[in-house]
């Protein structure tokens, strides 16, 4: 390499660095910026894409149909994290100050990224909304003023799954001596329910066995041989994500473990998982915190206003109404309603993270409002307070019938009398370690 080439190289690099320093995006002052951390690439993209489409479609619809929220147009910018924590942090830092008021809230759709952002959101005063994932004890709003876990947590999910098993067995009394196995993604995400299940096991006398599956979860032969041939549990709970789900269902079929005795958490209840598993998935159960399907008025609007005019986020509306797409919609509705509440209080202009936090602290999504949005029955009403950042935490059990997720129970609320003290104890330990003085809720 001669010196001329090198000089050229240095020149290009300097130019690049200079542009990076001087890079400022232009945003209109009167639009509300919304930053969205998504993963459309990487090992978990099959789950990440429909979620991102649902999230984005809802805001696109608000812009196209209603002219934004309270007349404030919305500007959504995505950043691809590939479910990678390093990239997620970079995305968050890149997006947080964009727009006229910065990012109003962040939903990273990854428990790993959630943990990495927990400290940062407090300093930046940006609410972290983790709908159905993230840190369960963030339900204690005194220790976690900027983290929100509506509508439910993994601890709640674990309790609901056990509740369902008890119903099938004829009451909690019959759980004694039963064997329940937990197959989980060996990460912060998969470990969350363990403590709850252990507590429940001690209470009701069932025996819990743990089967961690390393990322990404393509190798589960040994796990399932042990489950199917040796341990033979009465039920298997699954906390999987991405390819791990389909692999587990197929391996369960291979060792002949009945699929209707398998209950996955909501992240293990997506169409890509069961469709890939084919016939093996018939009868497989999963919790859902939202109803599946596209026959809600909102979904009809999305297809009519967006997809029929070529304005949808995806190229075709084939995912509209899928379990995970609806979860994206659900997250978008929570954020949109928080923005609306904040605008009602602070004026119809772009709002800051701090104002959205104020709104979330007194967040209330009633049955009537859900009907107005056009999603009656999609999910349960939510009410948050300064102290309670979770809400009721309901979820339902659904079963895959080969075509769709069929609800087999009504919405079940977790046993908050048991969970709330656990949240508070865990949050108190966190507060002690981090030197946080819990705020007082009046």
């Amino acid at each position: 390499m001669n010196i001329r080439k090198l000089k050229f190289g240095i020149g290009v690099a300097t130019l690049g660095a200079a542009t990076l320093l001087g890079a400022t995006a232009s945003f209109a002052a009167d639009t509300q910026f919304i930053g969205s951390l998504v993963y459309r690439t990487g090992p978990y993209a099959p789950g990440g894409i429909p979620w991102a489409d649902g999230f984005s479609d809802y805001f696109r619809l608000l812009n196209e149909r209603d002219g934004g929220i309270n007349g404030v147009m919305l500007e959504l910018e995505e950043c691809d994290t590939a479910y990678n924590t390093d990239k997620g942090v970079e995305c968050y830092e890149r997006l947080k100050n964009k727009g006229s008021t910065g990012m109003p809230a962040v939903s990273p759709l990854s428990t790993g990224i959630t943990y990495a952002l927990l400290d940062r959101v407090v300093a930046d005063k940006i609410p972290l909304i983790t709908s159905g994932y993230g840190r369960a004890d963030a339900a204690d709003g005194r220790v976690f003023p900027y983290a929100f876990v509506l509508p439910s947590t993994y601890w709640g999910g674990a309790d609901i799954a056990i509740h369902h098993i008890a119903d099938l067995e004829g009451g909690y009394g019959s759980l004694k001596g039963k064997k329940i196995a937990l197959v989980y993604h060996d990460s912060a995400y998969g470990k969350e329910p363990i403590k709850t299940l252990e507590t429940l096991g001690a209470q009701h006398g069932f025996e819990l066995s743990l089967f961690p599956v390393p990322h990404p979860g393509l190798e589960q032969k040994a796990t399932w041989l042990k489950i199917g041939r040796q341990l033979r549990p009465d039920y298997v709970l699954m906390w999987g994500w991405g390819v791990m789900n389909a692999t587990a269902i197929k391996e369960a079929a291979a060792v002949g473990f009945p699929r209707d005795k398998m209950i996955g958490v909501w992240w293990s209840g997506n169409e890509p998982d069961v469709i890939t598993a084919g016939q093996a998935a018939l009868g497989y159960k999963a919790l859902q915190m939202n109803r599946v399907g596209a026959d809600f008025p909102l979904h009809k609007d999305i297809v009519k206003v967006l997809y029929d005019n070529g304005k949808g986020t995806a190229s075709t509306p084939k995912d509209v109404g899928s379990a995970i797409y609806n979860r994206g919609i659900q997250s978008a509705i929570y954020l949109a309603e928080a923005l609306r509440t904040a605008m009602n209080e602070f004026g119809n202009k772009p709002v800051t993270g701090e104002q959205v936090q104020w709104a979330l602290d007194r967040f209330s999504l009633t049955e009537e409002r859900i009907a107005e949005i056009g999603v009656t029955g999609l999910f349960a009403p939510v009410e948050l307070s300064c102290i309670d950042h979770q809400g009721q935490g309901q979820a339902m059990v659904t079963q895959w019938d080969g075509k769709q997720w069929k609800p087999i129970t009504e919405l079940i609320a977790p046993n908050m009398e048991m969970l709330r003290p656990m949240y508070e104890e865990s949050a108190a330990q966190y507060a002690k370690e981090k030197g946080i003085t819990p705020r007082t809720c009046g």
Partner: protein, 359 residues
């Protein structure tokens, strides 16, 4: 013309043994230090400090640690991630068990603990070499991560197995960890530590220990015949290397992300650091940082690039382009200069001596 040693006379042994014997080099390093300590904190945005400079410095330190082991002592290791995790978890246990400890002590002590673990896993290096040693260190990577996942004691029985750094300060007042630490404080803290440790490493590799390492690397049998003790030399390399990786891991957990799960230090992290060393240049202190710069900065540069040109490309396309361009650039640099970016830097300096009259 501007860069040559002609006319610079050394009149003492001290001057002859200095790290930088050429005046222009000294100016350059002092200039670089002044830039890093004064100019960067003054002009950089929060984004630059927290997402570009911090990971660059911390991973540069980890690459420096691996470079001591692989580049100087010739022991191929894939356990960097495991050692970084050891540093992070040791720091967490120390910081939560002894809340009154100073953060500098916590970080250096976690480095020492890691170097103990490193010595333990370095013992097989006496019998196995090359790729076989790489596999043995890979085992340490998986074992350590498994251990931190398996035993709740390491995470103080946290439900999710995630550790989180308590707020700690230096000089009594200035917070460097926790949510309320300013990016500038974090940056300066990491920079100071990295500069000091780099200085130590530079002197270490110039000393008799460093020469022993290089002798073992170049031909271990010959080194043994001239009287270099194999076991202690190799274990010294493992100890020092693990110390650096441990400190880097502690800094990563405490100052960069604030909270980590063991997965943050999985085998991909080991490969990432190994690639930094290979692209930067084996057996070069400078190379560790050049490699870290390449691996950390380039992807960020590539994902941001379409925005500056006003191109509205979907995020997934950007990610895919980033992967492709990044891969192509790695191959390009390795073809152009198989000895890494550090060698390129050296060639530049040699050419500069002749400039503008090359022969």
């Amino acid at each position: 013309m501007i860069y040559r040693e002609a006319g610079e006379f050394k009149s003492s042994y001290q001057a002859d043994q200095a790290i930088l014997t050429i005046r222009q080099d000294r100016w350059f390093i002092w200039g670089l230090m002044a830039f890093a300590f004064l100019v960067i904190p003054a002009i950089s945005s929060e984004y630059w400090l927290t997402t570009i400079m911090l990971p660059f410095l911390i991973l540069g330190l980890a690459a420096l640690g691996l470079n001591i082991l692989t580049g100087y002592a010739g022991q191929l290791s894939l356990g960097t991630g495991g050692f970084m995790a050891t540093g992070a978890f040791a720091a967490y246990k120390l910081a939560t068990a002894f809340p009154e400890l100073n953060i500098v002590i916590v970080i250096l002590a976690s480095g020492l603990i890691t170097s103990g673990v490193g010595i333990l896993f370095g013992v097989p290096s006496l019998r196995i070499k090359g790729f076989y040693l790489a596999v043995a260190t890979l085992a340490s990577q998986f074992f350590l991560i498994w251990m931190f996942n398996k035993f709740g004691w390491f995470t103080n029985y946290s439900a999710s197995g995630v550790i989180s750094a308590p707020p700690m300060s230096v000089f009594n007042e200035i917070l460097v960890t926790g949510p309320h630490a300013t990016p500038v404080a974090k940056y300066l803290f990491v920079l100071t530590l990295v500069v000091l440790l780099t200085l130590v490493a530079k002197n270490l590799v110039r000393s008799n220990i460093g020469r022993e390492w290089m002798a073992v690397r170049d031909m271990d049998i010959a080194a043994e015949i001239i009287g270099i003790p194999m076991l202690s030399t190799k274990l010294k390399a493992f100890a020092v290397s693990s110390f650096y990786c441990g400190v880097a891991g502690a800094l990563w957990a405490f100052l960069h992300t604030g909270s980590v799960e063991p997965l943050a230090f999985d085998v991909n992290r080991s490969f990432q650091v190994l690639f930094m060393v290979i692209i930067g240049g084996l057996g070069s202190i400078m190379g560790a940082f050049l490699g870290a710069g390449f691996i950390v900065l380039l992807p960020i540069l590539l994902t941001n690039a379409p925005h500056w040109f006003g191109l509205n490309i979907a995020v997934d396309t950007i990610s895919h382009i980033e992967f492709m361009v990044f891969g192509i650039l790695i191959i390009f640099f390795l073809i152009v200069e198989p000895h890494g970016l550090a060698r390129l830097w050296q060639i530049t300096k040699e050419k500069l001596r002749l400039w503008p009259f090359p022969y």
